[in-house]
């Protein structure tokens, strides 16, 4: 029986650009009374007042309320965006981060007046070290890609310290898109490494190109096909034997918490995304947080300041001669750290393990339920996500993009499309553990119904979506003549 679609029609509101609502003389704040005398600046230094909109308080509230209603979030519905881990963002985390003692804290108040913040950072570092199996963690990187850069800087500094810099880095075709750009920032040339027929790396392929000019390898594990790199231990040994280091992209850590500790299998340095695995909201693009975990050998290279514990007091330490230096003006995205730590405290060891198990269960359930409907290029047990493509729909001239857009009309956020590049027309589904069986069944039914429409009524797909506020947008024209401001 076809379950009911979550998506339906509903009233939303038109809303112009904020400046079109502006009326001379309106102001949405109560200005504080002046209790000191006016001290005009030298007119040679002052400029025209920025032409900001002039609105009443309700104008502002209504503007942003209406805008928000044009958005789809995890709280609206299932958001199975592969590689992005769109799990539920617990509301209590927001309450914890908003506490005056945290939100009001000035970063330069001094260690003795910031003990709660330092303790939280220290304990979060220790928790992440335990979960990943590493010796030390820095929380400073502001996002996943920033963590990658941090990791690559550490690898670069390590080789410099060994007395001989290397020139290349191996990057598998199943790695995250940011990896090559991060390596380039450190002056390393990316060498593409093809995965084997099973969708995972083969030790022989690594051995064939690993040499003493190669600084290391960047491995996403589970990889972007959602497959566990089964030969990880052997690959680490091959890379280490040539003096290289292994970088782990831990963006997919959500699949293996309590199952595998990357630090114990030969990975030297790993970044995490607190905004994926540890439940902090993505915010429509950020802010995230990308802690980096390292083994003992690489600990001296971690960025400064470091948090240290002495008896029961905590302090920032900057005297680390081998450190790669500083990566953030202060200590990273502390507000995001609070939320992630609240999540870890609420979940505990069993909760995190269960989260990973159920994330993997949900993905395998979808994979098995849809593999007759969509082509599954790698038919193997998957981890937290599975990658289909549009091979079966091509005969009806229907693409992955058409199916993705049609899913919007059914009330689902589409999966990640056309990534990873190793699969043509990829349709990458990551349900996460917080989606229930009923919601997943609705999604499966929707994909099946859409696949049927592809045969019987392809127009419904090519003209989709019809329910959202706008239909398909002409991105090519937008890029040809960019209009980036009003």
């Amino acid at each position: 029986m076809m379950t009911q679609r979550p998506g339906t029609k509903g009233l939303i509101f038109n809303e112009p650009n904020v400046w079109d609502k502006s009326r001379e003389g309106r102001c949405a704040i109560s200005l504080p009374k002046a209790d000191v005398k006016r001290s005009p600046l030298d007119p040679a230094l002052t400029g025209d007042t920025p032409d900001l909109p002039q609105l009443s308080e309700l104008d502002v509230v209504r503007h942003y309320t209406r805008l928000s209603q044009w958005n789809f979030g995890v709280d609206s519905g299932m958001y199975p965006l592969g590689s992005c881990t769109m799990k539920y963002n617990p509301k209590t985390n927001e309450v914890q981060a908003a506490r005056q003692g945290f939100a009001g804290a000035h970063p330069l108040a001094g260690d003795e007046c910031s003990q709660g913040a330092l303790r939280l950072m220290y304990d979060l570092e220790r928790s992440l070290a335990e979960i990943t199996g590493f010796d030390a963690v820095t929380l400073q990187p502001a996002a996943g890609a920033h963590g990658e850069l941090t990791g690559m800087l550490i690898i670069h500094a390590y080789h410099a310290k060994q007395g001989r810099q290397r020139s290349k880095i191996l990057i598998p075709d199943t790695a995250h898109g940011t990896n090559p750009a991060s390596a380039t920032l450190c002056g390393y040339k990316s060498v593409n490494l093809k995965s084997g027929p099973k969708g995972i790396l083969e030790p022989e392929a690594v051995a064939a190109i690993m040499d003493e000019e190669t600084a290391g390898i960047m491995i996403t594990n589970p990889n972007t096909l959602g497959l566990f790199e089964e030969n990880i231990k052997e690959i680490c040994e091959i890379v280490h034997a040539k003096g290289g280091l292994v970088y782990g992209d831990g963006a997919n850590m959500n699949a293996i918490m309590g199952v595998v500790k990357p630090g114990k299998v030969g990975i030297d340095v790993l970044h995490l995304n607190l905004h994926k695995t540890f439940s902090t909201p993505h915010g429509g693009g950020g802010p995230g947080s990308g802690p980096v975990a390292v083994n003992e050998k690489l600990t001296p290279f971690l960025p400064v300041p470091r948090v240290e514990k002495e008896l029961d007091t905590f302090k920032f330490v900057t005297d680390c001669p081998d450190s790669i230096g500083r990566l953030h003006t202060f200590y990273g995205h502390f507000g995001v750290m609070i939320k992630a730590y609240a999540y870890i405290l609420a979940m505990g060891a069993q909760g995190l393990l269960d989260a990973s198990r159920l994330a993997v269960l949900n993905a395998n359930y979808i994979k098995e339920s849809l593999k007759e409907t969509l082509n599954l290029p790698y038919d193997r047990p998957c981890m937290h996500e599975c990658v289909f493509n549009d091979a079966k729909q091509q005969e009806y001239h229907i693409s992955t993009m058409d199916m993705a857009k049609r899913l919007l009309d059914y009330g689902f956020h589409p999966p990640t499309v056309y990534f990873p590049l190793v699969v043509d027309g990829a349709f990458m589904v990551e349900p996460t553990e917080t989606e229930s069986k009923e919601d997943i069944d609705q999604f499966i039914d929707a994909v099946k119904a859409i696949a049927k429409e592809a045969q019987t009524d392809p127009e419904k797909l090519t003209s989709a979506p019809v329910l959202p506020k706008v239909t398909r947008l002409d991105e090519v024209a937008a890029a040809r003549k960019p209009c980036l401001r009003g």
Partner: protein
Amino acid sequence: MRYLPHTQEDIQKMLAVAGAGSLDDLFKTIPDAVKVKDGLNLPEPMSEWELNDYMEKLASENIACKGYTCLLGAGSYDHYIPAIIPYLVSRSEFATAYTPYQPEVSQGTLQGIYEFQTMVTDLLGMDIATASHYDCGTALAECALIALRKNRKADKIAVSDLVHPSHRQIIDTYLKPTGYEMVLIPHTKDGLTDIATLETMDGIAGVAVQSPNFFGHIEDLAAVKKIADAKKCLFITSFTEALAWGILKNPGSFGADLVAGEGQSLGIAKTFGGPGLGLLAGTSKLMRDLPGRLVGRAKDSNGDDGYVLTLSTREQHIRRERASSNICSNNGLNAMTAAMYLSTIGKVGIREIAQLNHDKAMYLKSALTGAGFEPVFDPPFFNEFVMKAPENFKQKRTDLINRHCLFAGLDLAPYYPELIDHYLFCATEKVSKQQMDQLAKEVA
């Protein structure tokens, strides 16, 4: 666990479909040799009640748990945040969305960020602003890299030593593996970037000057521009106090090529230094060199107006190793917050708040002078300034924190070792005359 919806029955049914006998069975592709043997050693899970108590205990170990008087700035500013800002930005349609890759269901984020870009260009007098960066320091490091890529013959970037010390350290970190070099421009005895020394520097791809600078002083950006033009290098300017542009001549009016800024002042809580908001703006000429996301106008298939992420061929997921940067996630929700704040204070509010900041800072400076502090520098400032403290101030400052929760300035000696007993003070619209008078009385 309340975040996990599966019943035992669900699990059994789903395992049967997945062809697995148990949850452990799902991980059979992982060799035993790499599996965790003895679980994770983490504290017992907390109920929501326990979590509240524990987190409040931690928060209360920070001085900020009580109302406190913050005369600290240096990149993190204590401004009033109207109630509607956190209320609106916590709407989950904004907070729980991903980067707007599917524009049809992301028009809220997209229009909001487009308006943010527009308001930032207005604030700074620049052609283009990006959808945000991590913070000012990382945005400034990206600007340095752009300059070095644009001027291939040069391998140095000149940076004023009155650029925020952390920002200079970040540039250093970013440049270390590239072979490029940062050269410091010293400051004059007036606390301004030494333009004469800058003039003698050769082989530089860009020059970066912060204004108001780390001492709070308003720099002569017109003079910097002139030298940058003569040297055919990029003129980069940065700032940590975004509200200064409510009253000061903006960077665009001085011909800046690139601007990196901190937007935390625009409605974002200090939160121990992050997440703040990296602002990054440039001229049209540099459009394709800018890092990170940009939102642009578009038409849908019915001819209706909408917005999309655009010019993505610059970015890492398309151009991979030849991308203009590796940035992916930015500080989007804080950009949305800043847009809400700017819409709230508006044209009238921003001028008045900026003026108030300056008024309070002028009053504080004069009150401290009256209490025996020495005003070491003379140049005009916005809301931060440096004073040399009387001998016994260090102990008094600690007493003020302990007794009144009042933070009287930032000790500059750790940043500029020659400035022993020098303190950087900041006064915003939040500090009252009474608090400033009390401070003056206590330290006199």
